[in-house]
Symmetry: C2
Subunit: 296 residues, 2 copies
């Protein structure tokens, strides 16, 4: 919408002070006494973030998982969540999925609110965590010469979305889109080592460009080094997989001499800032395609 | 909706553990290291919690104020808020009101999310505070013989709602509904003394019945002792004012020997549990009318 950039600018201007950082796409760090908290809030909207007819249990899972993924990218240990829920047709299935995801990641539901909702319902979730490493890692520390790393693969959620949309009975594909797993242990292991880190929610190229811009550098990605989910290679969709989000892998940079303490793939090198924040094998990405999913 | 009680029951069953309390109508306390945090999340829905055509700046103010009021009732000092915002027609006015309320109560915006929203937009807000007194006061400690106290008056928001709905140019009345003020200093002063406390958001009688049920007692309110906002007395709406919420006053109980450290009015006495959680001059409230605003 036309007003969005202005609104976000206004909100950014309000989100000031040493303890306050991040709006819309990053978790905030907050010092309380001797503790450092990490806080994040994400929303999901019917018809935008989930498909009509999708199992509400999967919606609940994803709502919690994407917020926990934001904590993972800060190396934070989850303390709990608060839920804002718009009541609808199948609340019992939502509650069932909520129970599953909270149990899977051992996170308590601390509170929340329920309201009557019409079509286009919106749910919100706040996740609170405790930083396990300070300073809390962020996107701004990548330096020329660092290597770029990625956990897991990209493209799995893209295939899963197709499976859900077309009603395919392919549980593995569907799970990649419907039941992402926040990489909490991996984030905690990485926090003391990384120069920059984020979770890939909106697409590898777009999120890489965010690290590049926050750090004032270029991220050059070796196209053939990026690990693709099974079924993506040879499908003609490899480039699309670089622009698809929802896989919730961790993208991070390390000094060249440091090896990651968890399984990950080296996918490129940080360079000095140039004309383009992110390049592929030294060349700019296709100018006719967006780098990833842009929130509307 | 028919599924709501079941959903809330499921959510309550999930909201377990010593650190987790409260869903839908109470703030949660969470111990983190040596600190005790207080957390709350409330939503507002277009057409339900605000009127079509109402100034978005007022919606922003109220969204923040009602959540801060939940912190006030816990004696907590606000640390910040996270906002879930559904974009719409007049986001700049919303951002302006958000700036005003955050400045008025010196609370930072820590983060949040914006999403595209259709009609029936829903906004959510999470407020985080630090407890200034432990144990954090709650609703469950009222004992027979305690006196019942109320800050301020009731009925002001009721008249303000009418002013807004009918387009009256009456800034004082409108402000009572549109710009409630969380009683943060009062809550901090009361926290070490009260046996039970909550903010009156859904109506004096309904919220009194919640203290009564949480504490296992009766709250007997002296009808003529309840202070009414100017314009309510003599209007024939005094009883309605006892059932109208949105004034965000603090309702609390104290041992009979303790005087409140802030301006407040003694409005009744706690008794042993009887047939009715709340009574008026010893008699049950009108059985044909709800005790207050019940969330749908």
């Amino acid at each position: 919408m036309s007003t969005e950039p202005q609104f976000i600018e206004l909100m950014r201007a309000l989100a000031t002070g040493p303890a306050a950082r991040g709006l819309n796409d990053d978790a905030a760090a907050l010092n309380v006494g001797a503790e450092t908290l990490v806080l994040t809030h994400d929303m999901m909207v019917e018809g935008v973030h989930w498909l009509p007819g999708q199992d509400p249990a999967d919606v609940a899972w994803k709502l919690v998982a994407v917020n926990l993924s934001d904590l993972a990218a800060k190396g934070a240990e989850p303390l709990g969540v608060l839920l804002g829920y718009s009541l609808g047709d199948n609340d019992v299935r939502f509650a069932a999925g909520l129970g599953e995801v909270l149990a899977a990641f051992e996170v308590p539901l601390l509170g929340g609110d329920t309201v009557g909702g019409g079509p286009g319902r919106a749910h919100g979730l706040t996740a609170i965590g405790r930083a396990t490493h300070v300073p809390v890692p962020d996107r701004s520390g990548a330096r020329p010469g660092d290597s770029i790393w990625l956990t897991g693969t990209v493209g799995g959620a893209m295939l899963g979305f197709d499976a859900v949309r077309s009603g395919l009975d392919d549980p593995t594909s569907r799970a990649a889109f419907c039941r992402p797993r926040p990489l909490l242990a991996e984030g905690r292991a990485l926090a003391p080592l990384v120069t920059a880190i984020m979770d890939v929610s909106d697409g590898l190229l777009l999120d890489a460009s965010r690290i590049a811009q926050a750090s004032g550098v270029n991220l050059d990605i070796e196209r053939d080094a990026v690990p693709l989910a099974p079924g993506v290679a040879g499908s003609g969709r490899a480039y699309e997989a670089l622009r698809w989000g929802d896989d919730y892998q961790l993208l991070f940079t390390l000094p060249a001499s440091v090896a990651p303490p968890i399984p990950a793939t080296r996918i490129g090198t940080v360079g000095s800032a140039g004309q383009f924040p992110v390049t592929l094998d030294g060349a700019p990405p296709d100018p006719d395609l967006p780098l990833g999913y842009l929130h509307g």
